[in-house]
């Protein structure tokens, strides 16, 4: 699915060039779960942005199903994001004026799905994350966990191939964190998603099939040791 070849991303900062990602070559197969760990500022989010087409590499290629995101026009990348890539953010990034259902609906707007079909899919997505009864609630009326569930529903409602999660439990307490990770794992397993998850949390990272550690823009892949989630709840 993903094939990154010699990818570098450089930023200009204070008159000098800072490499956020350096000469990265990586393959992520369909249905993989890759956890990316690393210290703040070492390129984790930049990698996620490159995978999601939110940013373009300075050099190298980022191929998704054989299409190089670096070479696509902006409109094509936008279309690809709308159809194939779901995002989950640490701060949920829900639109505060829209209800849970309307927030989930925002992911279907660029796909020009009809209103009735949108309603059906939104309802199904909220049911899948256990928020069927919260559809009309505004983000401000929901807990952090519920907001993140809404964000997950928004990411999944369009049935993407790839789910990119940037610290999805970073703003949640331990119980809620377990709840969200279990939900993500369940959905990943049921839907055959390709999941790339950035986290500081080693316990969460251990749940992934593969774990990569970013350090100074370099990614080192380690093989994952997947414990049984039923017997080994996540702990930090």
């Amino acid at each position: 699915m993903y094939q990154l070849t010699n990818v570098s991303k450089l930023y200009a900062k204070g008159g000098r060039t800072v490499p956020a990602v350096r000469d990265l070559t990586l393959a992520i197969a369909d249905g993989d779960w890759l956890a990316v760990q690393g210290r703040t500022g070492h390129g984790k989010s930049t990698l996620l942005n490159l995978l999601g087409g939110l940013d373009r590499p300075t050099s190298g290629s980022v191929e998704l199903d054989g299409r190089d995101l670096a070479r696509l026009r902006e409109g094509q990348v936008t279309r690809l994001r709308a159809e194939s890539i779901g995002f989950i953010f640490q701060t949920f990034n829900l639109v505060p004026t829209l209800s849970a259902a309307e927030n989930v609906e925002t992911a279907l707007i660029p796909l020009h799905v009809g209103a009735a079909e949108r309603r059906r899919r939104v309802e199904a997505a909220l049911d899948a994350v256990g928020l069927g009864d919260r559809a009309r609630h505004l983000p401000g009326e929901m807990s952090g966990g519920q907001q993140q569930r809404t964000a997950i529903a928004r990411a999944l409602v369009k049935e993407p191939k790839v789910l990119l999660a940037d610290e999805p439990t970073g703003n949640l307490d331990e119980d809620t964190r377990d709840e969200i990770i279990n939900l993500l794992e369940k959905l990943w397993r049921e839907r055959g998603l390709t999941l790339v998850l950035v986290t500081h949390d080693s316990a969460i990272a251990r749940r992934a099939g593969r774990v990569g550690v970013m350090s100074k823009g370099l990614l080192t892949i380690q093989s994952g040791t997947r414990p049984d989630p039923a017997t080994d709840p996540v702990s930090s």
Binding site: D55, T91, N93, V95, T97, E102, E105, I109, P110
Partner: protein, 479 residues
């Protein structure tokens, strides 16, 4: 529709800011509507005044050159009539010869404002290419005064002159000239059969003041005229007081200081062009034909009207317009800045939408929609404010006055130890014109367009900001 749901929710969230922007736009638009309404009201008042001066259907008037005034230092005029006050008492000088004026009645019909134009020129003007029809007329002043027997003595009071305007009307062309605008309220108008009769039509205002009615007699140049009709002009401009047949006016009137008879002369030619578009061409043709005469259109005549109607027109057109523009610029600037600020606060939201696959154009349309909705709200409130402003102007504005000066045709020389001084008494006609500001459909269209422009302008700034927003940067800024 998701677009409207999102728009409504967003406007509700920043209700205060939206109301603030809308009120700013409303203030500017309300001012524009009010000023436009006031300006239209003043223009209508001006048009009414001009219509009564000018007559319905007249596009151009031609007037003879103003006669030269007699110099006081040159002694009694060799021609015409001069009234002289000095140590020897009051004297009337006629054709250079002076005699005592005590106890006498003077009643002269003179054309002192405009010099004579040969009547043959009327036909020449009528024959011009772009002229539909032309009619001659005489704008005259009847000056009557009774000199007391002891006038000039130590305790004598100066006599009070009775002056009124007389218009000689071409009875074969009644559709042109000042009488054409009037409505006969009593009796009848002049007809072709009246051409050589001592009959007169009297303006309703003059008739009321002097208690005249159909059948009354009016003395003009010591001749008795029978009032056959009372006429009211559409607006109380400065209409002639009395209308008499042109032929009678020509027979009785003299040309101001010169004292020459005005037989076969006119001093005004009323001209109708073949179309409104031809007025300028007609003006040019007549100037070429009659180079020494004054050719006036309604537009140029408007500049001769003074008084509060003129001041208000200037106020509405200049100060009002600039004030409106300034307020509008300020409102547009505030709306644009606040929209930019709102976009800045929503960077994360827009970055997220871009990450979800929303195109920049879609997000820009959303922001533009919000701005235009605020603009429309501002426009609606602005139109309401405009109506309120117009109503206030109509109810509290004092009546405007239009003043048109004209000479009496008399020449007075004052003698004394300091030498001789002379002046020509000037009669100013001041008329009250009601000020009525009314909001026109055009003003409402302008308001709607301004509202849309304000909304689009403010939204465009926001849209420009969104278009430049890179999703990775937007998300990183808040991550």
């Amino acid at each position: 529709m998701f677009f409207l749901t999102y728009l409504r929710r967003e406007l509700r969230r920043r209700m205060r800011q939206a109301v603030f922007i809308a009120l700013g736009l409303a203030l500017g638009i309300g001012l524009v509507v009010t000023v436009t309404a006031a300006s239209a009201g003043v223009k209508k008042a001006q048009a009414d005044v001009l219509k009564s001066l000018y007559g319905v259907g007249t596009d151009v008037t031609v007037t003879g050159p103003a006669p030269k005034q007699h110099s006081p230092s040159s002694g009694p005029s060799k021609e015409g009539q001069t009234f002289k006050l000095g140590p020897g008492g009051a004297q009337i000088c006629q054709n250079g010869k002076c005699h005592s004026a005590a106890g006498q009645t003077i009643d002269n019909l003179t054309a002192s404002n405009y010099g004579p134009i040969s009547q043959s020129k009327v036909a020449a003007v009528a024959a011009l290419k772009h002229v539909k029809t032309a009619a001659g007329g005489l704008a005259l002043t009847d000056m009557g005064v009774k000199i007391p027997k002891n006038f000039g003595g130590p305790s004598s009071q100066p006599p009070t002159p009775n002056s009124f305007n007389v218009n000689g009307v071409d009875t074969s062309h009644l559709s042109l000239g000042p009488l054409s605008a009037g409505t006969v309220t009593s009796g009848r108008s002049l007809t072709g059969a009246d051409a050589h009769s001592n009959v007169a039509v009297v303006d309703s205002g003059y008739a009321k003041t002097h208690k005249l009615k159909v059948g009354s007699k009016v003395s003009i140049a010591k001749h008795s005229f029978t009032v056959v009709g009372i006429v009211v002009q559409p607006q109380s401009g400065s209409p002639p007081d009395v209308y008499i047949p042109l032929a009678r006016a020509q027979a009785l009137a003299t040309a101001g200081p010169s004292g020459k008879s005005l037989r076969n002369e006119v001093n005004t030619i009323y001209v109708a062009a073949t179309s409104a578009a031809d007025v300028a061409a007609v003006q040019a043709e007549i100037k070429h034909l009659l180079p020494g005469d004054t050719v006036t259109t309604a537009a140029s005549l408007a500049s001769q009207v003074t008084g509060s109607v003129s001041s208000t027109a200037k106020l509405a057109n200049e100060l009002g317009r600039w004030l409106s523009i300034l307020v509008l610029i300020a409102a547009f600037a505030v709306a644009s800045l606040l929209t930019m600020a709102a976009v800045s606060r929503r960077v994360r939201e827009f970055g997220t939408l871009k990450a979800l696959g929303w195109r920049s154009s879609r997000i820009t349309a959303q922001v533009l929609g919000e701005s235009v909705a605020i603009g429309i709200l501002g426009g609606a409130v602005g139109v309401a404010l405009g109506f309120a402003g117009s109503a206030i102007i109509t109810s509290v504005a004092p009546k405007l006055t239009a003043t048109i000066a004209s000479s009496t045709g008399q020449h007075v020389v004052m003698g004394g130890s300091g030498g001789q001084q002379s002046f020509s008494p000037t009669v100013t006609h001041t008329v009250a014109v009601p000020m009525s500001a009314s909001v026109t459909a055009g003003a409402i269209v302008v308001a709607v367009l301004l509202a849309l422009a304000g909304g689009l302008l403010a939204g465009s700034f926001g849209g420009w900001r969104i278009a430049r927003l890179r999703p990775a940067d937007a998300l990183a800024r808040v991550a």
